[in-house]
């Protein structure tokens, strides 16, 4: 370790308690902060940060978990693709437990279907080499952070002329859902904590438009608890000082321009979709990517078009995730919360992963410290 311990130095108790005091001292109005990214939600919960903040700060958990926002019809695509024993469907981590309309990839795997969970998209190449007689389909998920890895794998597939790798692209973009939420007149969001690692790739520049359009501060924050606390302080100060800006708190990793090499790789292979359906929010124009037409021979949605269903599946009628995302409702307001809708059997996106607002309330709801 050099002069900085990149973990311990940003988890330090003394610093956190000091910033906590300062925020309590300086805050002069209630602020609804949306942390867009599930990673931040996780930090807030894991370290109990809400308890260290004044009542005036309320968190609204944003649509920033690629697992939670995946619409059922796309998961159904994965399920259809793994039915053919000549295919191997590969995806990342806990994606496999998200329910589609009737099953999940984990359930299909348990029935003997070829579903593989990998830690890195690079393993797709290894699986394809080991299974030359199978069609290996990478069910790609993730925001801007994870997109360049898929582009990198595409590049390697093309270079090595592998013929048995295909891509089902579910890469989504951060700004469009923020805008979609803000476009609703009812949205009660005053400021944003900008995602850490999305911003490493895209640069902080992508949030400028949001500040300009909605006059909400955006602070790009690191994932450590000190980072989040400092970011809240910065938001408090923007309001205090009447500023509305994009600020980078996470300066040790994020720049205004971002990782241009990665951005170029994305541009090389992907283009923006006209529309993508987000679980909990609905159709959002230009909110996701797809493979460019010139590489459509790699695109599972093209190659397997004939077998893939394309009827959109509506969110559950009683689900109010949309309102929760806008900050105008809390999970308790939902009629089916904790009854028909539970983490084992989520009806809506906010219950899908442990970072979802409803899942969090379900698990922690009985802990009075959270209701302080």
């Amino acid at each position: 370790m050099g002069k900085v311990d990149f973990l311990k130095d940003f988890r330090d108790k003394e610093k956190i308690l000091a910033i906590s005091k300062l925020i309590k001292k300086e805050i002069d109005r209630p602020i609804n902060v949306m942390e867009v990214c599930g990673g931040h939600t996780h930090t807030i919960m894991k370290y109990g940060l809400k308890q260290l903040l004044p009542q005036e700060i309320d968190f609204i958990h944003g649509p920033g978990c690629p697992v939670c926002i995946m619409p059922k019809e796309r998961i159904d695509h994965g399920i259809v693709l793994c039915q053919d024993e000549k295919n191997i469907l590969v995806t990342l981590g806990d994606m496999i437990r998200v329910p589609g309309s009737e099953s999940s990839l984990a359930k299909e795997r348990s029935k003997g279907k070829n579903v593989k969970m990998v830690y890195s998209p690079l393993d797709v190449l290894k699986i394809a080499q080991e299974n030359p007689n199978k069609k290996v389909i990478y069910f790609a998920i993730g925001f801007e952070t994870t997109t360049p890895m898929t582009a990198s794998v595409i590049e390697k597939v093309l270079e090595s002329k592998m013929k048995n790798v295909f891509f089902h692209i579910n890469h989504v973009l951060v700004p469009p859902p923020i805008k979609a939420i803000m476009e609703s007149k009812e949205a009660k969001i005053d400021a944003f904590i900008g995602p850490s690692h999305v911003s490493v790739i895209t640069g902080a520049k992508i949030y400028k438009d949001i500040v300009d359009s909605y006059k909400t501060p955006v602070v790009v924050a690191g994932f450590e608890p000190v980072d989040v606390m400092e970011s809240i302080l910065r938001i408090v100060r923007q309001f205090k000082e009447g500023r509305r800006e994009v600020e980078i708190q996470y300066t040790r990793a994020v720049t205004w321009e971002g990782n241009v090499k990665a951005q170029n790789l994305i541009k090389k292979y992907f283009e923006v979709r006209d529309e993508f359906r987000w679980r909990g929010i609905g159709d959002i124009p230009f909110s996701a990517l797809k493979i460019k037409e010139e590489f459509s021979f790699l695109d599972a949605e093209v190659v397997f078009k004939d077998i893939l269903p394309n009827k959109p599946i509506d969110d559950h009628k009683l689900c109010i995730c949309g309102d929760i995302l806008k900050g105008i409702a809390k999970p308790y307001d939902c009629k089916v919360f904790g009854k028909a809708c539970k983490p084992e059997n989520p009806l809506g996106s906010c219950m899908v992963s442990s970072e979802g607002a409803c899942a969090a309330y379900y698990k922690y709801g009985n802990l009075e410290v959270y209701k302080q």
Partner: protein, 80 residues
């Protein structure tokens, strides 16, 4: 989104890969997405098997300085 963790570069290979160490856990990662060259001893952020950026130590120190000042300031204020 995007679990990622600063890790120390331990060994660099000619094929754009490196061994990195995260608190004693070693893993081979790809450097294919890194815009800048790295050296052994540098810290990089790793996301799903790829390094995505070099950690900027100067900026980190800058941040740490700010925190120290906050701590000091509050200590003074709460009357030492």
């Amino acid at each position: 989104m995007c679990l990622s963790i600063p890790s120390r570069v331990e060994e660099i290979f000619p094929d754009e890969t490196a061994i990195v160490d995260t608190m004693g856990v070693k893993r081979k990662v790809s450097l294919h997405l890194l815009p800048e060259p790295v050296d052994v001893g540098d810290y990089v952020l790793i996301h799903v098997g790829y390094a995505i950026t070099k950690m900027n130590e100067e900026d980190a120190l800058e941040s740490l300085k700010i925190y120290e000042e906050i701590v000091k300031h509050l200590e003074e204020e709460s009357g030492e």
